[in-house]
Assembly symmetry: D2
Homo-oligomer: 392 residues x 4
């Protein structure tokens, strides 16, 4: 079992999360191939060096092209802004590096497909960052479904609710600009719900949606610096000029799954009180499952075959040794946090490389998610049901 | 303040609920015009007499036409099967009686409109049985919205989830037959959510939906008697012949409200673990509200202007004297049950008659709800967005 | 099955609750002996007549001695102030009437014992008003324990938390005066928890407690009228004279049960946010049970033998036909309220009389509860563990 | 700001937790003095070397006496078994090293006092491992109390409930043997609750308790190896010989605080369904606070001065930038886990050393906690109230 040498492009929110995961792996999963944090890459040399030291990378590189070619790198981890994903991935594949790419895989389906093909042709391992699959409680949901314990699935309801831009004086950060972000809540939050649905329920067949931008103009930020896209209290200068918000604040859609289940999915940044409510409920013929990321260590489970007088949703604290990953952490009842969705994700990536198999979720999942996102966009534009197959 | 004399047609689930409300009124709301329980009406003389005695009615009548004409009756309360509503209501209006009609007002929009017109021409008071409006916690939601305390509404999510027919051996009761019930979960459960949305958010503009009948054939019940439409354990004879289920098991739809809010609404009888989850969430520009009928005495409320370090959904137990109706009941913290949604509903009806004004909700609300229901049906059939205005 | 004729003494909070129960019985439990509401009794003729009409009693009597002797009365229902219980009960027993007596049975143990002996000698049926036993969810707890489904009980934790006198300007109502109320939160609220523990766990062996009066003086109310002991917003006149509070605001105690379980019990009126939190948890060798009266239709249940990966407290909504009393009410998922603890209580009383057996809980339970209350008082006074047997 | 060089003795559960904290600090709190993980110490050379590599320490030492004297060590971190704490601490103090010592500080009060005195005489910084103080939600509770936002405290209720030894076939591990563990649930779990009470409410004045060992004999483990004290499914060999359990399974006690508040505290390992329920509630004159460690990112808060119609416990997700430590972690709504109670704890320790002040909690807190623990023990033995002052 040899070490796996990582080169990472990007050093903001996701760069921090990935670095933390690489650092955690050898300590909590010592039997796994160890990631070596070889090089971190970003454009701003000063900020990069600070991140390098803080996160614990061996070296820093300001040109990703250089990084991608280095001989001492096995893996390229892409968490640069979304509009740079494709170019980097194609170069990394060409250089024969395994690739981890944050979601969204690319800004559109065509680019995603191109990336997938390049990866397949290069014969590399490729993975996409749908980290919520790696919550132990979500893994339990998957297990219950796979083992048939909730029966045939009839319903999926998925919500991703946030509230950080409800205040109309919140400034026009890059996440609210289509040319940079690609999409608003739909692509940012809805993508996670779509992937969760694919993971747990199966493929989408057709969709129809609606979307809205509730606050159409916002103060233009004189400088992005210091404006957190996730901060609650960030305020624009009230005397500032207004600029147009070019992405959706909220998107809601209906879905038919290939297996016949009915789905409804919503992503919004306009739900006061919801800092990060990534939640779903699944109803099957033999039981139900509920999950809320704000209580990520818990899964609610109901079985129709429980004794008649004590039927009820069980609040399962998924921190027992019987739950995925948890014997690596702390005693039962001692919860873990958001960050370890990435640790488990990277665990899968390291294992897949060591075992010479494709990790899951990989670029195929990135492509399929993008197809659903675009089918929804198309359904909104054309005001009709759109089959996912139309996008191919 | 004179008594108001009631003649009631129907004596099953709703007949029991209404009778109980009439009995409760003079005791808990003694300042209100007292309903006199004059006559109860049903076709089966034996069952009727039993109900008359049990519920406490003065007399029993097997022919509703007779009841409607009686001089000693001020109000006709219609909770007979849905397919009989129209004929009775038209006759009652012609006889100049005030009318309380259970939901659905009629089997279709045209009939509903006819009933409304007849009532208006007759100059009578008319009310429709959307009882969930009268939950104190829901009244609190209405108050908070009306006072602007949660701001402009952007989102409405409403669910009515039940689980009583998940078992495929559950028999083909009348509620699963279109010719009698008119509709399945959509008309039965979804109607309540639609009315709640209209009550709290405002008028619907356009909708698009999907529906499904998951179990397409069920054992034909040799006798309806003893088969509860709401019983959990009712089982059909497994050797019984199968008959077709002709209504929807579940219907889900998206909505645009006239004021711009986005809505999603679902009604299903296939959600294991949900005995009667009638729930909604509303997100406004200044706060949010959540309600779940299984915890009907509670309202969850969030305000964006709470102090920064103690923002959170408040679990308000709506049993204080400051909450609607509650000073008539028990000390704070002592909850009330489902049945008193009807008590408060009849309170509104008695008050409206005494004050010579139309009660709310009335036939107009019954018509509007029916229009939304049918717009959804049309959207499913034609696979497109349907404006409510198309139905007029 | 003949009717049972009731004479009721007292017409305030409990008088209203009992009247409501008598009215509900024939409608919801038609197969049970019907209570006839013969006579209501109180000292203030005007208030009494108003109550008689409002609650639906046939006649009104201002002298309880007269009522007790009436030939057309089978049962005397005592819900007069606590300091009058004994005298009335002795007279009723002497007259051969069955007795329902609100808790506390009497102001002290000696009086309680005297009442029990009188009842036994008279050969009458006697019941005491521990209404919380009759919550369907509590009945489910009892059933699970009786059937051994949570094993041998090791722990009992019971709390009764209220908050109506946290405000120091709340006036000195009678419940805060020892000579009338007998006791404060201990006797008023703690008594319910003690009875619940006896019902579910078994007899107490020894106790030790502490108590406190946090607000030692309060404004003297110029008139009691209009001052609700349960109102949240009742305010004393700030210029009013202050009087001494002579009962406990809070009492907490430890207990050993005869079977070895450990108990802790607390009653307080100083717990902001708790309007009426009557809650307990029981841990047995095979499972656990939790209950909170503010969500009285729910029971939380845990079983150690559930499958390893889905262990968790189940939220059981005790509204299914499989739950006690619930087939008499509404379909599954439709909750009932506080008031029907009394309906079920009176159901037991009517049934016991009809079946010629003692109802449960009866005066024996009233005596035992009083013994525990006084053992706690003694333990506080003498600052030592007190065995319940010392009180005999 | 220079680095701080750590030598750590112990490498099991707490050794892993501390190592993880040291590794996290420079990444998430880069402005703080960086801990250098110089040397790890344990008796078993093989296991130690494995831990050294896994946790990332520079060197390994099998003799703690050697470690304590090393020139390249500033801090001695003691998380060896409790019976070794004193000897190591005295030697470390004599060598002028700062000391972090896990709780319990020592096996008894006298030893604790000796350790405190030695630390004071040596003029070193000393800290004790009450990590639950460092939960952001608990810090919020502290802040609300300090700012007077819940008023004068009247009640404290603290529970630490676990369930890992309910099964009588669970073996006789060292935590169940008094000579090694010192105490059972009282010292292990109750100590945390006592410290929490001291942190939030203030000093204890007097206590009285009871305790029980429900399962008095357990299978003797042939080898400790592989038997987790925290595993749920660990089973003893049923044919194994039985040995006596010499510690308490559960201890419950009442307390008076110096400021007049009433407290009740319970620690048990016999509460099925509670993997790690470390929970408390505080009621003040102006509000209430509730916390449950199984949902460690949440605090429930109630204010009596909220508007009358929307009073209710708020569920505050303490993950906003306005909450302690949280701006170092992830965006609002993204939770952290148990492990970072240690990260924040070590943050306090590093900061205190850098700022040349005593960290909090320190050995004084360890001593005070031990005094309360022993006062409870004495109260159980002598069956009477014991003032903490008696122990001095």
């Amino acid at each position: 079992m040899s070490n796996i040498r990582i080169g990472m492009i990007g050093y903001k929110f996701m760069g921090k999360a990935h670095s933390n995961a690489y650092r955690a792996l050898p300590m909590f999963f010592p039997k796994v191939s160890k990631p070596e944090m070889k090089a971190i890459c970003g454009r701003d040399a000063e900020g990069l060096e600070k991140a390098r030291e803080q996160f614990g990378w061996e070296s820093a590189v300001t040109d990703w092209r250089e990084l991608v070619k280095r001989d001492d790198i096995d893996v390229v981890d892409i968490n640069a802004p979304s509009d740079a994903h494709k170019e980097i991935a194609l170069a990394a594949a060409a250089a024969g590096k395994h690739i981890f790419c944050e979601k969204p895989l690319a800004l559109n389906l065509a680019d995603s497909v191109e990336m997938l093909k390049a990866a397949e042709q290069a014969g590399i391992k490729h993975m996409v960052g749908f980290n919520y699959r790696f919550v132990p409680a979500v893994q339990l949901a998957k297990k219950l479904i796979s083992e048939g314990r909730i029966g045939k699935i009839n319903h999926f309801r998925g919500l991703f609710l946030q509230d950080w831009i409800v205040d109309p004086s919140f400034p026009l950060v890059w996440r609210l600009q289509k040319e940079i972000a690609g999409s608003g809540s739909h692509g940012d939050l809805g993508a996670h719900v779509i992937d969760m649905a694919r993971f747990l329920v199966g493929e989408f067949q057709e969709v129809i949606g609606m979307s809205e931008t509730f606050v159409k103009e916002r103060p233009i930020a004189t400088a992005m610096t210091g404006l957190s896209a996730t901060g609650l209290s960030a305020k624009g200068d009230k005397s500032a000029q207004l600029g147009e918000v070019t992405v959706d604040d909220a998107t809601v859609f209906l879905a038919r799954f290939a297996d016949g289940a009915l789905g409804s999915i919503e992503a919004t940044r306009f739900a006061p009180g919801h800092r990060c409510t990534n939640t779903f409920e699944i109803n099957g013929s033999k039981g139900s499952i509920k999950f809320d990321f704000e209580r990520m260590n818990e899964l609610q489970v109901f079985f129709t075959d429980d004794a008649e007088d004590v039927q009820g949703f069980r609040r399962v604290l998924a921190t027992d040794p019987s739950h995925a990953y948890m014997d690596a952490w702390w005693p039962a009842g001692h919860t873990i946090g958001y960050e370890h969705t990435f640790t488990h994700e990277m665990l899968e990536f390291m294992n897949a490389i060591a075992e010479d198999r494709q990790p899951v979720p990989n670029f195929v999942d990135g492509v399929e998610c993008q197809a659903v996102l675009e089918a929804v966009d198309k359904s909104i534009e054309e005001r009709r049901w759109v089959a996912i197959s139309e996008l191919r």
